[in-house]
Symmetry: C2
Subunit: 248 residues, 2 copies
């Protein structure tokens, strides 16, 4: 008499994609976790409020894009992090210093996991533990990379980095290598890389004028010149070939 996999999990990417957390669970664990968790659909602008997060601090992203938004005292808003399919957002013990909200950018599906069951499963299932740990480390690295991007790079370089990041995500999906899908709107992108929407627009135009990228649609770019794009992203701004020769 074998237990049945919960219906909702059967079609959920978290369970179907072998790299993800739920795929590492035994059927029993899956049933337990599912029984105490809540899955939800969100649409653009929907938020998981502070209070909701207090109760359900662990959120798994099944599809779509979530953002961790931070509101400054004078109204400036910024997107601190982006979460996508497979990410386990563990907000337990987040400092109250940063009043922030988890907001969906577009339609998405999430699963709010019971902290108790999650903790139990993680402490007993080493495989699951490693998966979620790896994911958390990745998030840390992403955050660190991002803060480097934000701190020293100029707008064009930030955008180039972002495009490359999008392209990488595409790569793992084993599609056309030269395509990057921008999964968020211009305004969100601007808030994420910390510039104004106008600047994003101008930088895109610049890259396009220089023939480095081409727009298929607003949200899809083809990268014509990966190496140049990469150079820009890594901050290799050669000011002016002549200058370097003349002035010391």
């Amino acid at each position: 008499m074998e237990s049945q996999i919960p219906t909702i999990c059967k079609s959920c990417t978290l369970h179907c994609d072998s790299g993800n957390f739920c795929a590492r669970l035994t059927t029993d664990e899956l049933i337990q976790l599912n029984g105490r968790s809540q899955s939800a659909s969100m649409k653009r602008g929907d938020a998981l409020s502070d209070e909701a997060l207090m109760q359900w601090p662990i959120v798994a992203v099944s599809s779509g894009v979530l953002s961790l938004q931070h509101l400054m005292a004078d109204g400036r808003k910024s997107i601190a992090a982006l979460y996508m399919q497979g990410d386990i957002i563990d907000l337990r013990g987040i400092s109250n210093r940063n009043r922030c909200n988890l907001i969906s950018l577009g339609n998405s599906k999430v699963c709010r996991l019971s902290p108790e069951v999650f903790e139990r499963v993680v402490s007993t299932n080493t495989d699951a533990q490693n998966t979620v740990w790896r994911n958390l480390r990745e998030q840390t690295f992403r955050a660190i990379d991002h803060s480097v991007d934000m701190s020293k790079k100029q707008a064009l370089e930030k955008l180039a980095s972002f495009i490359i990041e999008c392209n990488h995500r595409e790569l793992s999906d084993a599609k056309n290598t030269a395509v990057a899908k921008i999964p968020v709107r211009r305004v969100d992108l601007a808030e994420y890389i910390g510039v104004q929407p106008e600047t994003v627009s101008r930088c895109f135009k610049d890259l396009q004028d220089r023939g480095i990228i081409t727009f298929e649609k607003l949200s899809v770019v083809t990268i014509n010149d990966v190496s140049t794009l990469r150079e820009i992203a890594s901050g290799d701004r050669q000011p002016n070939p002549q200058k370097t020769l003349v002035a010391r």
Copy 2:
């Protein structure tokens, strides 16, 4: 017949401070881990190279300040993260995208942990697991906060945030509440908050002129007006009291 705690651990903050990882281990675990690990002293500028980190990707900070530095193609350098006493730096699986180095800013003591033993201990000792997990999450939050600071804030606001962060660390040491110790040099601070040293200097001067802080020494400030400092840090730049009333 009880085994002896390794000499080197006896005086190590990682073991003595109950909040830290090593304090959560049984004597046996500690002996095993110690037997396969390497502790080291570092001085300002010393680096744990990429190659060294490949072999020893897990580093625990016993004292001092380490920095994760990132070098851009044209020579711009930036400090992506700061690590202090008690932090467990787990660089397993860091993407090779970001060539970065772990560099000590000043004298510090670290312990390079054997990945195998570490992993074994973590998977069996739930208490230790939770400790290290909490630390990793804190690092993630710090990184996220930092990237928010970097992306939208202006120099003065970044500096204010940093001072408050230093003050918080001081607080947990249960000392004078109005003091913040700046644990790094100006240049490093500048690289961390993503501005030029000159700008750091100017901003410090500004805060001092406005009577918000006072310098005891170059590396120690007294905060005279916490609430204003906090307002600045949270981005509450009230442009001009009148303006807000008049314009729209």
